[in-house]
Symmetry: C2
Subunit: 183 residues, 2 copies
Amino acid sequence: MIFDELAPSRANRLINHGPVVLISCRDGDRTNIMTAAWAMPASHTPPMLAVAIGPSRFTHDLIINSNEFVVNVPGADLLDAVWYCGTKHGHELDKFAECNLSAQNGKEVAAPLIGEAIGAIECRLSSHPTAGDHTIMVGEVVAAWAKAELFETRLLVEKSAAQTLHHLGGPHFCRPGAVLAKK
Amino acid sequence: MIFDELAPSRANRLINHGPVVLISCRDGDRTNIMTAAWAMPASHTPPMLAVAIGPSRFTHDLIINSNEFVVNVPGADLLDAVWYCGTKHGHELDKFAECNLSAQNGKEVAAPLIGEAIGAIECRLSSHPTAGDHTIMVGEVVAAWAKAELFETRLLVEKSAAQTLHHLGGPHFCRPGAVLAKK
């Protein structure tokens, strides 16, 4: 065999390094932010995305109850906030205040956008199938935002401020590197 | 507003740049490979992952019929194969031959692994919920493989041969760049 065997529990680290996102949500007067490394686009028409969230997360029930959430895309400068929002339970914390993040009003959902992000995607919950020990939150994109200097028809990762964080495992992340174009 | 508005149909390009994967599958004597940019881990226990695949893809029905698939993780050296397998319909093509890829036998599934990849994850289909115009194939990891020099407890993206491809949109991809560790 050309490969070496991995424990199945390690397999996900082969595909773990999509861009880390910060999920913000609000249900009534309860607001939270959590870090998610497991997110992907899911549909073109209508535009949809999917985020895997564990049922024990405070954010899990806020999304189920409010039927909406925001996917914020942080740059590498927000590593400390990404770590904090990924390791602290939000039930009794104001993570916007703790992380010095500014809540911005969106257009279609009540959940706040994170002003320091590269961009933010407002989503309405479409379905929430279970996958093992996580729930896949499938959201329809109802509005989307980015900083124009960081996103044209694609994310301009050549610019330092547009460099997303990609989780490799444990405390390790990487930034985007060289851009290549298929000819 | 601190952000500029995007068309909702553009929103997914903010989170599009997880590692591109090559999905291989086999149903009876029909084998195929397709490129997918929309994949993510989905569960720790049991280990599961999710890949969004359009119903018009040849691979879609091969997976539904065979109940299994392999997620292969290509390095940037496989850009031509990634492009080919993402733009050609596999119904009448042998993509292994066309792309000079070597089929390797796995342990738990009949679908072949791609020997030139950094690693490969054998999956049994667990569920396949619909999200808009795509199907989310949720697979349970039944075996996993990687090249030991490229993967320890995480992918060693510092090494050129372990650099995955991340789709930014259109013909543009990036490689992983600098690694950072949260202290």
